[in-house]
């Protein structure tokens, strides 16, 4: 298939439509606007629905409606907008409605700025809205993955009857790279048998998140939890980059993982056996893979464009058996490869324990 040089945000929309997305409800916010604009341009041509809602609150509830009616539906926003959508996301998860939500992260908290950050990790991965629920969270790092993970997101959303979030940032969204759309569109998705479509077959169906009796709600919440366990078993995705022999393993996702690949190369030139574990799914988190690497690596180095959020999941996985170091920038600053390299070298020469220094320097 020929490749097309295209922005990540636009690749995501095309991937979504090829993956069966037929409705998009959104509200403008920088830096997610290319998504909304591309959806406005392409979806009506593809026989789908695009509507600019009056607010993020309305947009996510339109998503709720379309998902109830059994249509593959998407919305896109950025931090402050996702905060407004969080109530709706909780309802979607509670009512077990599949949908795809894209968060092109920007700097926060509050109004923050429009530059890229990764500080919505907690919000995406740990909940954000109220109640016991999880979103499956995918973290693309290339324009190609913006397309591929959008397609995957719709499959996962349907398979688990759950919202799937694509957590990305301004850089991954604005960057142009060649994308192979392997353009066979998904077959027209079947109307799910639980949907409410205004037809005789679906007349008896009910979409709700109310369970008034404590026992009923407990049963429901446990059913959701079992579903999440199943996703943890089957849907955890990650990429290993030069980890086979690595003593120092970086953990980073999205645009940061791209920069870390450069850093791995720079460190290896200096004789430090570095590698990278890149989570592709942030929930479920590749805990088992980190456990496996704990047996091999002397130290883990988490790098994020935040003051440290994913590092908590890395620490949980490492279970205190290895040091987990952290380097982070925020405010919309993107760490350069050189700056991370310098930081890591200084750490090795300075604060790293004797044992770690020995492992890293005898490489």
């Amino acid at each position: 298939m020929p490749r097309q040089l295209i922005k990540g945000n636009e690749a995501l929309v095309k991937g979504a439509i090829l993956g069966g997305c037929r409705a998009f409800y959104g509200y403008p916010i920088t830096p997610a606007n290319e998504l909304t604009e591309a959806a406005a341009f392409y979806l009506p041509q593809a026989g789908g629905v695009f509507l600019q809602a009056e607010s993020e609150v309305a947009a996510i509830n339109m998503v709720y409606g379309a998902a109830s009616a059994g249509v593959r539906v998407m919305t896109a926003s950025s931090g402050p907008g996702i905060s407004l959508m969080s109530e709706g996301i909780s309802y979607l998860a509670g009512a077990e409605l599949p949908c795809v939500i894209v968060n092109v992260m920007r700097g926060g908290p509050g109004l923050g700025n429009i530059a890229p950050e990764q500080s919505d990790y907690f919000q995406a991965v740990k909940g954000g809205g109220h109640g016991n629920y999880r979103c499956l969270v995918l973290a693309p790092a290339t324009a190609q993955e913006m397309c591929d993970l959008a397609r995957l997101a719709f499959e996962l959303a349907d398979r688990y009857r759950n919202p799937v979030m694509i957590l990305t940032d301004g850089y991954t969204g604005q960057m142009m790279e060649p994308v192979d759309f392997h353009s066979t569109p998904a077959a027209e998705p079947k109307v799910p048998d639980w949907a409410v479509c205004g037809t005789p077959e679906t007349r008896r169906n009910l979409i709700t998140s109310i369970y008034l009796q404590p026992d009923d709600l407990e049963r429901h919440v446990r059913k959701l939890a079992a579903k999440y366990r199943l996703a943890e078993e089957h849907e955890t995705r990650w990429e290993n980059y030069h980890t086979e022999d690595a003593d120092l393993i970086f953990v980073g996702y999205g645009i940061v993982s791209r920069i870390l690949k450069s850093v791995v190369g720079m460190l290896r030139e200096r004789g430090v056996r570095a590698g990278l574990l890149r989570p592709i799914t942030l929930y479920p988190f590749p805990t088992a893979e980190i456990r496996r690497l704990v047996g091999q690596a002397a130290v883990f180095f988490t790098v994020e464009m935040s003051t440290g959020q994913m590092i908590e999941d890395v620490r949980l996985a490492v279970e205190g058996e290895r040091p987990v170091e952290f380097y982070g920038r925020c405010g919309g600053n993107v760490p350069s490869a050189e700056e991370i390299f310098d930081h890591v070298m200084r750490w090795i020469d300075g604060r790293a324990s004797q044992a770690v220094q020995e492992v890293l320097s005898h490489a």
């Binding site: 790279e177 979409i207 920069i259 600053n333």
Partner: protein
């Protein structure tokens, strides 16, 4: 209603067909509703159910139920049911209706739900003329949460949150929802009715039916506001509460049709059918054919990091894109990243381009091999980062004396002046690209020209850009020749 009873023998006081015979979704008391005796909700949903039966649309109906005393409509309605968040019924109904235009979507809301927390959603659904039907039950109080003030609560009324009576100074005025919405262009039919006596109830019945009919005809948004007794919270008996509706509520909220455009409004056009799946790639403008170039031979190792910088409007981003497009056509891995974040300020523009024979790790170019500086601030800003042995192309007649490095090749050419002589200064970015191709023949010129034809849509501009590209190459050739005579050009 058992199927065996012939239509002409239907008992008059039986439950409507689209209400369940037994409310199996309820925990207990499955033969009665959860509403208090004398509550207007019971009457309203009965009227709604009868209208659905009469119109024969039960199979198509989706009832959207809210939060509040009316939350449990799905106990009763033998139709599609979607339960939604507080105030969001019009938004969710919009999502359903747009997804399934043949469904008859009915949002059922109370006064807190619709007039307070959901005021934005109802206003905009109405203004869009969303072809849904909204039943707005107004009892001027919050029922389920135990008697707090509603936006519709009359002035002076004591509620648990206006313990000294509602005052305009503190709480504002009662909200006249139907009048507000009727002032918009979107709605096709809005009427306020009441449940104060049999005559009023019959009028309510007609209004609800009419609202549903206008949705069936695809005319647009309709809303029926039902002034409804809440004996429990009003602390009245049912008879007293009905009199209160009749005498007090209707004087604050006048009954009647607030807007009716059903006669003049045309049905909304049907959405065109979806394109066949096979058409999708074409509609999405996904290229079908590989560019007809020979891919680069396996022997060539390329790894070039380029930074293009200048003022906004100089075509910085396009220059980078042309390079990336051509690199891709030539079989290289490429990335293009616009400047993002703090650098977006003060009218500067720059982008990072990488061309590589291997997969590209970081698309960020912090240490470029090539700097194309289209203005002096960019030269000064990025010169220090250029890798030793790298190349700098500067838009100017000479490199400023205090911005020189001896370990990089520096070329100064007035790209925009050259372009101006060719017909338009706008093509200065392409002159710079031509110069780059001459300094570092990373991608063959034919490949760049072909990529240009894809990116530059207008034939006129394309012609100019082709000349500009050639002029850029030529200018750099001449400059190089001069540099041989005078080695320390930079």
């Amino acid at each position: 209603m058992p199927e065996t009873i012939p239509a002409h023998m239907k008992p008059i006081h039986a439950k409507a067909d689209c209400l369940y015979d037994s409310y199996f979704r309820k925990e207990d008391n499955q033969h009665q509703t959860h509403y208090c005796p004398g509550c207007g909700h019971g009457i309203t949903l009965k009227l709604l159910a009868e209208a659905i039966d009469e119109l024969g649309i039960a199979d198509r109906v989706v009832v959207v139920s809210p939060v509040g005393c009316s939350v449990f409509l799905y106990y009763y309605f033998d139709t599609g049911n979607v339960q939604v968040a507080h105030g969001r019924a019009p938004a969710a109904a919009t999502g359903i209706k747009r997804a399934r235009p043949d469904a008859i979507v009915i949002a059922y809301q109370g006064d807190g739900d619709l007039a307070a927390i959901g005021s934005a959603e109802i206003l905009h659904a109405a203004n869009r003329g969303e072809p849904i039907t909204c039943i707005f039950v107004n009892n001027a109080i919050y029922g389920m949460t135990g008697g707090q003030m509603a936006p519709t609560t009359p002035l002076g009324n004591r509620t648990t949150t206006t313990p000294f009576g509602r005052t305009p100074q503190n709480d504002g005025y009662p909200l006249h929802v139907s009048e507000v919405l009727a002032a918009l262009d979107g709605p096709v039919y809005i009427e306020r009715v009441a449940l104060g006596n049999v005559k009023q109830i019959l009028a309510a019945r007609r209004a609800i039916r009419k609202a549903l009919e206008s949705q069936m005809k695809g005319l647009g948004f309709s809303l029926v506001e039902v002034l409804s007794p809440c004996p429990t919270i009003w602390k009245m008996d049912p008879v007293e509460a009905q009199r209160h509706v009749r005498e007090v509520m209707t004087s604050l909220y006048p009954l009647g049709v607030k807007c009716d455009r059903t006669a003049e409004r045309e049905p909304l056009p049907a959405r065109p059918p979806g394109a066949p799946l096979a058409e999708l790639p074409r509609l999405l403008r996904i290229p079908e054919q590989e560019p007809a170039f020979e891919r680069r031979g396996a022997t060539g190792e390329v790894d070039l990091r380029i930074r293009v910088a200048g003022f906004g409007g100089q075509g910085v981003l396009l220059l980078g894109q042309l390079l990336a497009e051509a690199g891709m056509d030539y079989g290289l891995e490429v990335s293009w990243l616009p400047s993002y974040g703090p650098e977006m300020r003060s009218g500067t523009s720059n982008c990072h381009v990488r061309l590589s024979s291997k997969p590209i790790d970081s698309p960020l170019v912090s240490k470029p091999d090539v700097l194309i500086a289209l203005n002096e601030p960019s030269l000064r800003k990025f010169l220090g980062a250029v890798r030793p042995g790298g190349t700098v192309l500067y838009n100017g007649s000479a490199i400023p004396g205090d911005a020189r490095r001896s370990d990089v090749a520096m070329y100064a050419l007035p790209f925009f002046e050259i372009a101006d002589r060719e017909g338009s200064a706008k093509a200065g970015n392409v002159v710079a690209l031509g110069a780059l191709l001459e300094a570092l023949p990373v991608v063959p010129v034919e490949v760049v020209e072909r990529a240009m034809a894809r990116v530059v849509k207008s034939e006129k501009w394309l012609e100019l850009d082709r000349r500009a590209l050639e002029r850029g190459r030529q200018a750099l050739r001449e400059l190089k020749a001069e540099t041989v005579k005078e080695p320390c050009h930079a």
